[in-house]
C-alpha cells in the first residue's frame, strides 16, 4: 500500500482537516478554523497559503483592523480535488 496518487497538497493532516471543514461549509472564519484545528496563527496561515496557492481555497476579508476577519471558502477546483482525494483514499483503504 502506498500514498501514490493522493494529492500532496491536501494530504498533510492539517490541510486535510481544513479541506474537510471547508468542503462541508459555505464559508469559514479564520478564528473558527484556528480553534478547530488547534494550531497557531502562523501555522494556519502557512497551511492556508498552500491551499490558496494551489487554487483550492479563496479568501475574503471583512471589516478593517482589529474588528476585521478573514473568511475562507473552497473553490470548485478545491472541491474536485477533495472529492478525488476521498475516492482514492477509499480505494486504498479497500472501499471503506
Amino acid at each position: 500500500m502506498t500514498t501514490a496518487g493522493l494529492d500532496p497538497v491536501i494530504h498533510p493532516v492539517k490541510r486535510l482537516a481544513a479541506m474537510s471543514i471547508l468542503a462541508n461549509s459555505h464559508s469559514v472564519e479564520y478564528s473558527y478554523l484556528r480553534e478547530r484545528l488547534e494550531i497557531s496563527d502562523s501555522d494556519l496561515s502557512k497551511q492556508m497559503k498552500a491551499l490558496v496557492d494551489a487554487g483550492y481555497v479563496q479568501t475574503r476579508k471583512t471589516g478593517i483592523g482589529r474588528g476585521g476577519s478573514t473568511i475562507f471558502a473552497i473553490t470548485a477546483l478545491g472541491r474536485t480535488a477533495y472529492t478525488t482525494y476521498l475516492d482514492r483514499l477509499r480505494g486504498l483503504l479497500g472501499g471503506r
Binding site: T3, V13, S20, N24, S25, R36, L92, R96
Partner: protein, 166 residues
C-alpha cells in the same frame, strides 16, 4: 521480510489516520454545536420584541405600525437568529449558523427564517389592537414560540444529518 512489511503497515496507519481526520472534521461541528439552549432563543425573542416596540413608540399608530412590522419582521428574524447564534458561539465555541454548516442546514435555515416572518406576523396581528400591557408580553411570547419551534426543528435536522453522515 519484516523490514518490507513495516513501511506498508506505516502507510496503512497513515491512511487510516487521514480517514479519521476527515470523519472528525466533517461530523463534529454540527453534532456537538447544535445543542442550543433556550436562553439563546429567549435572547433572540427579546431583541425582536425590543425592535418591534421601539417602532411602536416611534409610529404610535396601529395600522402604520402593522405596515412597519411587515418590513421589520423579515428583517428582525435573521437579526435575532444571528444575535442568538453569536451568543451560542460564545458559550459553545461553535456558531451553528455561521461556520461549517452543511449545505442542507443552510437551506433549512433560509427556509426557517423566511417562514418565521409570516408566522410571527400572524401572531402579532392577533394582539396588535390589544392594550400595550397585553400586547407587549404577547409579542415576546409569540417571538419566543416561533424561534423555539424553528430552533428545535434546526436541532432535529442537524442530528438527522449528523446521524446519516455517521
Amino acid at each position: 521480510m519484516e523490514s518490507d512489511s513495516r513501511p506498508e503497515a506505516s502507510t496503512a496507519a497513515e491512511l487510516r489516520e487521514r480517514a479519521a481526520v476527515i470523519n472528525r472534521s466533517t461530523l463534529a461541528p454540527h453534532t456537538d454545536g447544535s445543542g442550543v439552549s433556550w436562553w439563546a432563543v429567549v435572547a433572540a425573542s427579546a431583541l425582536n420584541t425590543v425592535l418591534a416596540w421601539l417602532l411602536f413608540l416611534i409610529v404610535r399608530d396601529e395600522v402604520l405600525w402593522l405596515l412597519w412590522v411587515l418590513l421589520l419582521v423579515p428583517l428582525a428574524a435573521p437579526l435575532g437568529w444571528s444575535f442568538a447564534s453569536r451568543l451560542v458561539r460564545r458559550r459553545y465555541g461553535v456558531a451553528p449558523v455561521q461556520n461549517n454548516q452543511p449545505r442542507e442546514l443552510q437551506r433549512f435555515q433560509t427556509r426557517a427564517v423566511i417562514l418565521s416572518a409570516p408566522l410571527e406576523l400572524g401572531i402579532l396581528a392577533l394582539v396588535i389592537f390589544a392594550p400595550i400591557w397585553v400586547a407587549l408580553p404577547a409579542t415576546f411570547v409569540a417571538s419566543s414560540v416561533v424561534f423555539g419551534l424553528i430552533w428545535r426543528a434546526y436541532e432535529r435536522t442537524a442530528r438527522r444529518i449528523g446521524a446519516s453522515a455517521g
